[in-house]
Amino acid sequence: MLARGLRDEGFEVVYTGLRQTPEMVVSAALQEDVDVVGLSILSGAHMTLLPRIVDGLRAQGMDDVLVTAGGIIPDVDIPVLREAGVDRVFGPGTTIRQVADYIRENARPHENG
């Protein structure tokens, strides 16, 4: 649903499917040269998986990629995740427009010409 909504906002969304390992996420982000990685986690494993993804991206030199997460993430975990390098955690009830606006304001710009 988010992918569809962001498409309607004019984004090109590479959808990789469910149950991705951190390695799969990093590899897809690298090959697709994405500007933003959006992660949805419902399993409760966000405290281990998200930092591993951020570290994996950094190890590949992708420091300028925006990392965002959503799903079921308790508020108390958010500061720790931000510390680990997750740029933004979207809570339940976030609208697609809010996500789109955040990405437009914060993702690295593309060069033209």
Binding site: R4, E12, G17, Q20, A28, L30, D33, G61, E111
Partner: protein
């Protein structure tokens, strides 16, 4: 921007393009990915990189894979990638999905079936949105394939949804075109309507474990045989290709090695060593690429800030039916050739 600032910006992106090309060539996958973004964005860095890489390309086997949505293209390509990797060959995939004509957005979902290769650096998968550029999708696709080719991928799959004319065109610029069909979809007639069978070198009846697959395959073979008999009556007129029909199941992996073998046979027959039929494909590819670049260059010239007002005036004159579009086109071409910036001259 002043003229000198513009010139130095252009110089900067040339340097960056060349650096990306060198890094990508030496096996830096991040550089390769960034270069493909430049190609998609059609930047001057991409142009600088292609000037280095194009002469190094021309060795890979470009395989177009197309077919109706739901025919199982991605799953089949994923199986073909696995088969090629089992033989130790690096493989690249360009998966092209349509952009929304309204918002420009796109959902690129072909990776879902190919994520198993995440740990393998000799598999490179890149999604591309069709974007509706001036000059068409073919230009970016051929350029992206040339980059992957120059970076050492001998086998490149270009996957498109076979529903639109531009997708068929992309399939047609490949060395070999594979059309994927599923039984039970009533696809045979649809495929003829869409012109898909005419561009196919190999037709794969996928989901061969489903009932009706054998019947679909023999139906197709029969149809193609009738076509082949009719070829003689066509004499020297252009004739559609007469593809092989193979059965496979991308999901179960059956028939996949046979497809790869058929691809390799074609490559051996028509590939870099030999010419003839392959020559036509190469020329078509070069033409598609050049036509795209010419259209783009022309577009840039026409909408150059110093000429845009004049172009706009001609456009307006055509919209108001004061000038016919052919005369308008000739006027614009002459004006670009002269480097002038005249408004519309009234028809005489």
């Amino acid at each position: 921007m002043t003229a000198s600032a513009e010139a130095s910006a252009r110089e900067g992106s040339s340097v960056r393009g060349r650096a990306l090309a060198d890094a990508a060539r030496s096996g830096d996958r991040r550089a390769l990915a960034r270069l493909l973004t430049q190609i998609e964005d059609r930047t001057s860095a991409a142009e600088a990189a292609l000037r280095i890489l194009y002469p190094l390309a021309g060795k890979a086997h470009l395989v177009g894979v197309t077919g109706a949505p739901g025919a199982g293209k991605s799953t089949l390509v994923a199986s073909l990638v696995g088969e090629a990797r089992a033989g130790g060959r690096p493989v690249a995939v360009l998966a092209i999905d349509p952009s929304s004509p309204i918002t420009g957005g796109a959902i690129l979902g072909d990776r879902v079936r190919m994520q198993a290769y995440a740990g393998d650096r000799d598999v490179f998968i890149r999604s591309m949105a069709s974007r509706g550029h001036v000059g068409g999708l073919a230009t970016s696709t051929v350029a992206a394939a040339a980059v992957l080719d120059a970076c050492g991928f001998p086998l490149i799959f270009i996957e498109t949804v076979g529903t639109g004319q531009s997708e068929v065109a992309v399939a047609a610029i490949a060395d070999t075109t594979l059309v994927v069909q599923a039984p039970e979809m009533g696809d045979e007639v649809q495929a003829i309507k869409a012109g898909l069978l005419e561009v196919a070198d190999i037709v794969v009846v996928n989901k061969a474990d489903r009932p009706g697959a054998d019947r679909a395959a023999s139906h197709l073979r029969a149809m193609l045989t009738v076509g082949a008999q009719h070829d003689r009556a066509l004499g020297d007129r252009p004739r559609p290709k007469r593809p092989d029909v193979l059965l496979a199941s991308g999901m179960a992996g059956t028939g996949v090695s046979e497809i790869l073998a058929a691809l390799d046979r074609r490559e051996a027959k028509h590939g870099a060593g030999s010419r003839e039929q392959a020559d036509g494909t190469r020329l078509a590819r070069a033409e598609a690429q050049l036509a795209g670049i010419l259209a783009e260059r022309l577009h840039q010239q026409l909408w150059d800030p110093e000429r845009a007002a004049a172009t706009e005036a001609v456009l307006r004159a055509v919209a108001d039916h004061e000038l016919d579009p052919y005369a308008a086109a000739d006027q614009l071409l002459v004006s670009v050739a002269k480097g002038g910036r005249d408004g519309p001259t009234s028809a005489t």
